[in-house]
């Protein structure tokens, strides 16, 4: 039971019940769809980017508490970050969940509450789904830019 409190911390339960920045975005600069075929969870991530800054992130989808809270906290963490900072945070979060330490990892801040999922290897993908989807949406922006 202690393990459950460690995994499902109050912050996570709160984000699950009241996800922030939830819902489709009108006219996003980029968008990506992610899914976890193992569990059927799906998520859409919408981005607004201006001058290389992530101005807004929204998400929509059906997932478990880990997936939903991770997505919700991600939207808060990324808003206002430069593309480079967002990439660095994505990589650092991924490293922390997979027990990799790299010298250029940045502090995770509030996102650290999600690290309890490390003890449940089958659930790690739940925590990373939104982030991978964000990464895909961000790449799409860059590709659009690079083809111009």
């Amino acid at each position: 039971m202690d393990g459950m409190r460690e995994l499902y911390q109050q912050v996570i339960l709160d984000h699950n019940k009241n996800p922030r920045n939830y819902g489709a975005m009108e006219n996003p600069d980029s968008f990506a769809h992610g899914n976890n075929p193992l569990c059927g969870d799906t998520i859409d991530v919408f981005l607004r980017i201006g001058n290389g800054i992530v101005e807004a992130v929204q998400f929509e989808g059906a997932g478990c508490a880990i997936c939903t809270s991770s997505a919700s906290m991600m939207t808060e963490a990324l808003t206002g970050k430069s593309e480079a900072e967002a990439e660095a945070l994505f990589k650092s979060f991924h490293h922390a969940l997979t027990d990799v330490a790299e010298p250029d990892d940045v502090p995770l801040g509030k996102l650290a509450v999600l690290l309890g999922v490390k003890d449940y290897p089958v659930r790690v993908k739940c925590a990373t789904l939104a982030w991978h989807t964000f990464e895909a949406a961000l790449k799409r922006v860059k590709n659009d830019v690079s083809t111009e």
Binding site: M1, G3, M4, L13, N16, G40, C64, I66
Partner: protein
């Protein structure tokens, strides 16, 4: 295993399964995932172990003692399967890797040579992916069309629609005996009778049927019946295809190799007789022998007694879970067996599964390889508690208590 009053002695049954001596997260194991894989009794574990330590060798054509003993055990297991299904002949029992391979064998060896563009295969909306995808493959290969019988909100077949869909274009009907996602027991007798009235053969997926209900393939007059060993208290990697001899006799081999031939020359090969023609390569000897022993064990308890015991658990779990406001049972068919599928408002099934595990309770959470069923009910996944001959009311009580705690945590 009945006590002096003739009632079902579940503790005596349970004591035969060594797995129940272990704890999970400091709690006694509460195993409610038999629908995925049933646990194995001591006699199955011991029989497989003894085979490997005393009798093991390759089967068939061996002239030495061990090979003859292994062959005797392997072929003996086939007889146990034949008797369990009340098949007419040993030629009708093909050992496969599991129910999935059995369906693929029928799709490729029976259906594919017969199908022409525009022909139809009729399945149902509640099939496991293993009774959908093999037919999609054969339809792609032949230009045949897959038709699907819808289900109602309770998870029962819409029989009116079935009769409408059954036509002269239908070349085979495939349906599940007992749904692994909903627990629905299908009226297979009625389906077989009406299909036969139009000369259409029927394949029944008995992966959940064989462990939970008596099966008499002759009384059913079913054309193909498939099941897996690991859901019938046997090992993984072994399964069965029952097929009517007249149908199997006319089918070309599924795979080529050893054991399925009589003689091989580069000018041409003469295939072996039934059932060996469909068993290319060295078979899963220990799997078959283990399955045979599992069937003996089921017979000792009695499949009817097991079914009665499990039905009572399904009814009890349904009643207890339904009483919880936040819980919705998915699949409320009049005839159900083996399992209860449910969702909790506001809680994803994977969170239910992880949290129940912390209480030592094993359930399955997900789409149960039946995504069309999930889609039909507008959900991504369910939590599923499934029962076996060793399941108890106390385990249902533990499940219900833990579900209430899950709700308390996430509400």
């Amino acid at each position: 295993m009945s006590d002096s009053q003739g009632t079902y002695d579940v503790e005596a049954v349970r004591s035969r399964f060594p797995i129940f001596s272990r704890e999970v997260h400091g709690k006694p194991l509460c195993y409610l995932d038999s629908g995925a894989s049933a646990q194995q009794p001591d006699v199955v574990i011991d029989t497989v172990s003894q085979l490997h330590s005393d009798q093991y060798s390759n089967v068939h054509r061996g002239v030495h003692t061990l090979s003859m003993e292994s062959t005797q055990l392997y072929d003996g297991a086939r007889e146990k399967v034949r008797a369990y299904l009340n098949a007419n002949s040993l030629k009708e029992i093909i050992f496969t890797r599991g129910a999935t391979e059995s369906v693929n064998l029928v799709a490729q060896s029976y259906a594919r040579p017969k199908l022409q563009a525009g022909d139809e295969i009729l399945i149902t909306h509640m099939e496991h992916h293993s009774n959908i995808v093999p037919w999609q493959l054969v339809c792609e290969q032949t230009g045949a069309v897959l038709k699907v019988v819808p289900i109602n909100d309770r998870g029962e077949l819409e029989m009116d629609a079935f009769y409408e869909l059954l036509s002269e274009r239908t070349k085979l009907v495939g349906l599940v005996h007992i749904s692994n996602a909903l627990g629905t027991v299908n009226p297979i007798e009625e389906v077989i009778e009406s299909a036969h009235a139009k000369g259409i053969p029927v394949l029944v997926d008995g992966a959940q049927g064989a462990p939970h209900a008596p099966v008499d393939v002759q009384a059913l007059d079913v054309d193909f019946y498939v099941f897996s060993g690991h859901k019938l208290y046997g090992p993984t990697g072994i399964g069965v295809l029952y097929g009517k001899e007249s149908l199997l006799e006319a089918m070309p081999p599924y795979q080529g190799g050893g054991d399925m031939i009589l003689s091989v020359r580069f000018e041409g090969t003469e295939y072996n007789t039934l059932p060996y023609r469909f068993e290319a390569g060295t078979p899963n000897i220990s799997g078959a022998v283990g399955l045979g022993r599992a069937i003996d064990f089921v017979n000792e308890i009695g499949i009817e007694a097991i079914a009665v015991h499990e039905d009572a658990l399904v009814a009890y779990a349904t009643e207890q879970l339904s009483a919880i406001e936040e819980v919705t049972i998915i699949g409320t068919a009049e005839h159900r067996a083996g399992l209860v599928s449910f969702v909790i408002e506001g809680v994803h099934p994977h969170d239910i599964g992880t949290m129940l595990d912390s209480y030592g309770i094993a359930i399955r959470a997900g789409h149960h390889c039946a995504q069309p069923v999930m889609e039909r009910f507008g959900i991504a996944a369910t939590a599923r508690a499934s029962f076996g001959m060793y399941s108890t009311r106390e385990e249902v009580d533990r499940l219900v208590d833990a579900v209430k705690k899950v709700i308390g945590m996430f509400a």
